[in-house]
């Protein structure tokens, strides 16, 4: 392993945390059965992606990463509003948040 300047170490640490958040998010999305917590796990993956964008922006001395994160934020807000509305609809139909109540969809 090559020696790093402290800025490079900071960026590498941020990127590793981003990868960690993203993969914890996907593990949670696959294993949780509560629909709301599944959406929470996608937000976790959003956090990882945003962190990676900002760290890469710092690495290249470019602000596009931060600007793109602002757009991600917009999309995440829109997604949360729509997805939670859908969850409420699904809940009203089956009276449960269990995603396996909808498992006939895979047939």
């Amino acid at each position: 392993m090559t020696a790093l300047t402290s800025d490079a170490a900071l960026i590498r640490l941020a990127l590793v945390i981003a990868a960690l958040l993203f993969s914890i998010g996907i593990a949670g999305f696959l294993s949780r059965r509560n629909m709301i917590v599944m959406f929470l796990c996608t937000e976790l993956m959003f956090q990882g992606a945003a962190l990676a964008l900002i760290a890469f922006g710092k690495m290249h001395g470019d602000l596009s990463g931060q600007v793109f994160t602002i757009f991600i934020l917009t999309v995440a807000a829109a997604e949360a509003a729509l997805a939670l509305g859908l969850v409420i609809l699904l809940y009203r139909r089956r009276e449960t948040l269990n995603s396996e109540a909808w498992s006939e969809l895979k047939e």
């Binding site: 640490l13 590793v16 999309v75 139909r93």
Partner: protein, 313 residues
């Protein structure tokens, strides 16, 4: 090849996460948490390069320590988000992930986004989640020990953790290599030059920057020249004579101003589109919320016979 820190830490973390998610019992749960914590620490310490001191002899700097603490906090909280049997606790731990992430953004010099994320994520989106969690109050038949059966038992934790581990190792390895091409001196110069160019769009900031070098002078618009991270500009001095000044580094615009200039100058169409997306999402949410669902007679009867439910009908 995958760096050994990532491989060892990732494997340990995955085993610990699996033990936590299997809910085999109190002792196993605690042991899993400890193993996952060890693995996470190994990954983070490897990422921060604690094994090899810095090339510039600085070793561990304060931002790096802050980032390490934030990383430990966000990884631990993220693990709790996916392992907590109570959805409300999961949402609260997600707030912790966001707050720790914001500390990381601060160390990376993205001050505007750090605070914007706290306001939008921790403030707005998570409140929506809380409302939905309350609206979708679990039916009493599902309750047992405070949380529903589908919250206490994970679906295929082994497969999920395996997918997570493979994904983590591949993403982190690629990113790990990417940092090797990082050149701090050149990047800092590029960043300064871009900030100066953004400053060219800010007449008030430019006037203040000129004032800081030569009081009473006014800048001549469109004469700024940026090279090698330094900016110079033609000015008209207080007594009417012309001069050419080099601006001070201390008058570089702050992060919020440069982000704002980049947002409006480089991505005006995307900005408009973001507004359209938000408007469509708002309309969509209203349409979704208005829809009535026709339940069958049997379902209605079941709903009304449940204690504490269906009072609004």
């Amino acid at each position: 090849m995958v760096p050994t820190e990532l491989l060892a830490g990732g494997a340990l973390g995955a085993v610990g996460l699996l033990l936590v998610m299997l809910r085999g019992g109190h002792v196993l749960h605690r042991a899993g948490g400890a193993i996952a914590a060890l693995g996470g620490l190994a990954i983070l310490a490897g990422g921060a390069g604690l094994g090899a001191p810095g090339a510039d002899g600085s070793g561990v700097s304060i931002p790096l320590v802050v980032a390490l603490l934030a990383g430990v906090l966000s990884a631990a909280a993220a693990t709790r988000v996916i392992s907590s049997p109570r959805p409300v606790l999961a949402a609260i731990f997600f707030v912790l992930v966001v707050v720790a992430g914001c500390a990381l953004y601060l160390t990376l010099g993205a001050e505007f986004l750090a605070f914007a994320l706290v306001i939008v994520y921790a403030g707005a989106i998570l409140i929506t989640y809380m409302f939905v969690l309350m609206l979708a109050q679990q039916a009493s038949g599902e309750r047992d020990g405070g949380s529903a059966e589908y919250d206490r038992n994970s679906r295929d934790p082994m497969a999920a953790v395996f997918v997570g581990l493979v994904l983590f190792l591949s993403i982190a390895t690629v990113m790990w290599r990417a940092v090797d091409s990082y050149d701090p001196a050149t990047t800092a110069q590029i960043q300064r030059a871009r900030s100066w160019i953004a400053m060219g769009e800010l007449p008030k900031g430019m006037r203040e920057a000129v004032e800081a070098v030569s009081p009473g002078a006014t800048p001549v618009p469109g004469t700024m020249h940026v090279s090698g991270g330094e900016a110079s500009i033609d000015v008209t001095a207080a007594d009417g004579t012309s001069a050419h000044l080099t601006l001070l580094e201390s008058s570089l615009p702050p992060n919020t101003q440069t982000v704002g200039v980049a947002l409006v100058n480089q991505f005006p169409v995307s900005l408009e589109l973001a507004g359209v997306i938000l408007l469509m999402a708002m309309l969509g949410a209203v349409v979704l919320a208005r829809r009535q669902i026709d339940l069958g007679d049997a379902q209605k009867a079941a709903l009304h016979s449940r204690p504490g439910a269906g009072g609004a009908e």
